[in-house]
């Protein structure tokens, strides 16, 4: 046998699954420490103004209270706002907890009560008496959009809209077929199962170990060191298990600051965890309004694309996402005008949420394409095929690969699209109207410079390590697969250590780049180990490989063997033993290189098909079927990959029908701050979800041919559902979520 059972490409179970389902996996708020202080955050009740007075006497006198921190007594931290920046934050002045008497948003932390138990801290927190001097606030985007502006400074990693091409206004006005409308998406708040929490272990001598709910331990470490003026040697941040990230843990959040601040001041271990309600004072997907105008010739060929978006941001930061650029690269058009503006509100800064920007922009673009298909009397897939493009027209680059045609074809086949009657309201089952809709999806296939270490030991085991996280995506598993496959081991012989700031450098886990980046780094480290082992194997007495080259051998079943004569082999452990060393070590980094990204554009694509069944009289919408056909390069693990797409689709259903942060603009306050009133899909809302991975070979997006899957699943889903709702009812709903009252009113 020349090959192992292939680990890569096989549907492997999660290696961290048993630990998670048995409770052995420990999360940030679950680490214990002697004399642990428990912090509870007091939040602002107003949206803007000043704290006139804050009386903590009663709280400090409450049983169990150790100390109450406010802006009046907080320890000194860094003065300059740039010290509070992090790797992924947008331009502006990052929020500084307890910095001054100024209130910038409702729900802002204004005090931290530290007590000997969580309950004592929470009880005392209710005794803090605050008097405010209120100032007028604005939380309504429909008003603030009048003062929308082009962000003066771009956010790192987010391309601003490209320069206009041609004359989109003129081409639109002359186009024989055209559509123009506004599409809005409600703000959505991050609610991973694990709320944000930080446990700081006071190690003595100014050293701390920080268990943080984060997607980037080294980002948190750098932030803590910078803000508190600590040497990075004294700050170790770990997050081996993360109960869902989705972007909420990319930036250091205020519980990290508060927990570290209290720990350093009190010289004891401190934990701060947010309640579910407090999660709504936190990271969210910004409310966004899109204006899209499409013009086409009589054959449905686009002659003009205009996409202008206005997104909400805070007063203190210009959070930016790629909302409109997709409209310039998904289809061919000679005249394109894309604009992205921000409007300031008295809210906390928005942040990244699964595929930040893309499902917002694509809800608008792909709804508009559906409207254009109807106006031009062309099948929606056919319309997209007529406007297909093989290069990114925003910057003229060729795609590393783009099997979107195959997504349309295979998705349509699986869905049964050819049985669709194009006329709205034409399909019915009893009282229910049936609608079939589709949409395209696209997301970046990024890669970031990442390092990994591999250690092979005399017992035949491989340990891989990297500072990246596994936020539930399956990183532990796919890295185990890559390591096992490269060195010809069983998965059980591979251990993966992640999310410790002392491990080889990695960027935050986000952007769907981790599989490609950490995977390539692990592959490089293992290939280095291969070379070292081969070298050793050649040196042992009577080695069968004396004249063999790299091409002549294979790593199979814990051995190196000769391809031409597999009976001739050397155990890996034997090769190592002969060297007299106890272990072999390799640390390698992988990066996208310089030339590739200049020449090529790398994206994942998808085609999403949705079936809805609607009781038109009562407004009840059921999404009874989704087929999501995805082109994402090489699929490392079909099982975890499928889970990623399913998760994205479920969230897309929530985006389409349920999720909405409701603000009382008079109070400037979020009102539905609990999971009872902020709706995400329940099990009953989820019917069949079918995932298709189309064959896509890509040798440019990353050294291991991987493009990443974390985000593409959500991207086209809401648009496909909205299009299906139109097909079912003849009603075009352009504001998400599509609740029953909106459907009945349309």
């Amino acid at each position: 046998m020349l090959k192992n059972d292939p680990h890569i490409g096989s549907p492997r179970n999660r290696v961290d699954g048993p630990a998670k389902v048995t409770g052995a996996a420990t999360y940030a708020a679950e680490f214990a420490a002697t004399d642990l202080g428990h912090g509870y955050i007091v939040e602002s009740a107003i949206a803007r103004g000043l704290i006139r007075s804050i009386n903590v006497a009663a709280a400090e006198a409450a049983p169990g209270v150790i100390k109450v921190f406010t802006h009046e007594n907080r320890p000194q931290t860094a003065w300059f706002t740039y010290k509070y920046r992090d790797q992924v934050g947008p331009p502006g002045s990052p929020f500084r907890p307890l910095y001054s008497e100024e209130i910038q948003y409702s729900g802002q932390p204004i005090a931290l009560v530290v007590a000997t138990s969580f309950d004592a801290a929470r009880d005392a927190a209710a005794l803090v008496i605050v008097e405010y001097a209120e100032k007028p606030h604005l939380t309504d985007l429909s008003i603030a959009r009048k003062d929308a502006y082009k962000p003066p400074k771009k956010r790192l990693g987010i391309a601003p809209p490209p320069d206009p091409r041609g004359d989109a206004v003129k081409a639109f006005s002359e186009a024989p077929v055209s559509v123009s409308a506004e599409y809005a998406i409600a703000p959505e708040h991050h609610n991973p199962m694990e709320p944000h929490a930080t446990t700081v272990i006071w190690e003595g001598d100014g050293k701390i170990t920080v268990h943080d709910k984060t997607q980037g331990v080294q980002n948190s470490q750098a932030y803590v060191a910078s803000v508190f003026g600590l040497s990075s040697d004294n700050v170790r941040v770990v997050a081996p298990y993360v109960g869902g990230g989705f972007g909420s843990g990319l930036r250091p959040q205020h519980q990290l600051f508060l927990a570290v601040m209290a720990s350093l001041a009190l010289e004891r271990s401190v934990r701060v965890e947010l309640t579910r309600q407090q999660m709504f004072g936190h990271v969210h997907r910004p409310e966004t309004i899109n204006a899209v105008a499409l013009g086409a010739d009589a054959d449905g060929k686009l002659v003009s694309i205009q996409h202008h978006a206005v997104a909400a941001t805070s007063q203190f930061e210009d959070h930016q996402e790629n909302v409109v650029n997709w409209s310039g690269m998904l289809y061919h058009a000679p005249n394109v005008d894309l604009r992205y503006e921000l409007a300031k509100l008295d809210i906390y800064s928005p942040g990244d949420m699964r595929a930040p920007g893309a499902p917002l922009g694509l809800f608008a673009l792909e709804s508009a394409m559906d409207e254009l298909a109807i106006a031009a009397k062309i099948d929606p897939i056919e319309l997209r095929l007529r406007n297909y493009t093989d290069h990114d027209e925003n910057d003229g680059k060729v795609f590393t690969s783009k099997e979107l045609r195959a997504c349309y074809r295979e998705g349509a086949e699986r869905f049964g699209w050819n049985k669709r009657n194009a006329r709205p309201c034409s399909m019915r089952d009893g009282r229910e109207l049936i609608g079939w809709g589709m949409a395209s999806g696209v997301w970046e296939a990024g890669m970031m410079k990442t390092a990994a270490r591999g250690v092979f030991t005399a017992d035949g085991r491989l340990e891989l390590s990297c500072a990246t996280s596994d936020i539930g995506t399956g990183t532990y598993t796919i890295l185990s697969q890559i390591g096992a496959e490269t060195l010809g081991l069983e998965m059980e012989q591979v251990t993966v250590k992640l999310a410790d700031s002392t491990l080889p450098a990695s960027p935050v886990q986000g952007g769907s780049w981790t599989a490609a980046s950490a995977g390539s780094a692990v592959m490089a480290a293992c290939q280095d180990l291969q070379a070292q082992l081969f070298k050793l194997a050649r040196k042992i007495d009577g080695s069968p490989f004396a004249d063999a080259s790299d091409d002549d051998i294979a790593f199979v079943n814990g051995r190196i063997l000769l391809r031409t004569n597999p009976a001739k082999s050397v155990l890996l452990a034997e090769a190592l033993a002969a060297s007299g060393e106890e272990k072999l070590e390799a640390e390698k980094s992988a990066s996208p290189g310089l030339i590739g990204p200049m020449r090529y554009a790398a994206y994942t694509h998808s085609a999403v098909f949705a079936e809805v069944r609607i009781d038109a009289e009562l407004g009840q919408i059921r999404v009874t079927r989704i087929v999501n056909a995805v082109a994402a390069g090489r699929i490392l693990n079909p099982k975890t990959a499928r889970s990623q797409i399913i998760g994205g689709v479920v969230w897309g259903i929530g985006m389409a029908l349920h999720e909405e942060t409701l603000t009382d603009h008079r109070l400037g306050r979020i009102m539905n701050h609990s999971l009872a009133e902020y709706h995400v899909p329940a099990n009953a809302d989820i019917y069949d979800i079918d995932v298709v991975f189309v064959e896509e070979h890509d040798d440019k997006a990353s050294p291991i041919g991987v493009k990443g899957l974390g985000e593409i699943g959500i991207v086209g889903t809401a648009a496909a559902i909205a299009n299906a709702i139109h097909h079912a009812t003849g009603k075009r709903l352009r504001s998400l979520p599509i609740t029953l009252d909106k459907l009945l009113a349309a």
Binding site: D123, D664, D741, L744
Partner: protein, 341 residues
Amino acid sequence: MNRFSYHRAETLADAISHLRSNPAAAIIAGGTNLVDLMKYEVERPGELVDLTRLDELRGISETPDGGMRIGALVPNSDVAYDERIAKLYPLLTHAVLAGATPQLRNAATTGGNLNQRTRCYYFNDVATPCNKREPGSGCGAIGGVNRIHAILGASDQCIATHPSDMCVALSALDATVEVAGPDGERRISFREYHRLPGDEPQRDNTLRQGEIVVAVTLAGEASYFAENYTYLKLRDRLSYAFALVSVAAALQLDGGRIAAARLALGGVSHMPWRKPDAENALVGMAAGEETFTRAADILLAGAQPHEHNAFKVDLARRAIVRALTQAAAATPQSLSDKRIA
């Protein structure tokens, strides 16, 4: 959550005397609502009187008139899966199963279901005004975020709704609430148990100081509605959400004519919403859309929507017609198949 003392009542009399002597005391049984509200600082009881050891509040039993008596401590799940109830009062079974989740129903009690507080956003957030939570502070929902709020029987003090599904069915079935208090026991007809907010929105029901719900009883004759009934609940997702509008409909048919009718709405008022006139308008009539619409119009007369909930008026009208259609056809709304028949 504040500090409180805890008292485990050994007898009903012991519980009543604790409640009477300590106005700051609150009853705890399942705790599915109270504990949440304590965490939000909405409820800050000085003492919790735990009823869960009182065996006299347990059990589902048959009554001499052929009805059923459900003890106040009976969990919602026991009500839902009691075969006698399912046979005699399937409307109740359906309503219970339309609410919450299996986990919550396992913990939540019958008495607690009656006495649960509103899910109004403002009631739940101590940083906002709410006359129900803090009389005189104003109503945040009026002019605020009020999509889920009342369209019927509200006042200028409060537009909160009662969140229960179970109570909508109990109201339709003309249940009776047995209470015990310092002055002994009394029976309150279900329609008299909850109240409209008026200018005392802090009072959800007509219990007097020190009174405890002991049981809910259903009359034997209410089982005549076991054939033609439905509980139709419309909400923002297909499960685990409070009703935007719900309808408990029950009919007795004599050939194609309606001999008796019960109709109650949830999600639209401070209490399950019934009107004898609407039910009377059905009696003696042929079951059909025209008749159903007339009853709906009577039941919804005087509806006063707010900025975000005007849709509820028309939705309720359609839901009533659909529910009566389901009831008349003896095809109650399925709980597992979410398609509305």
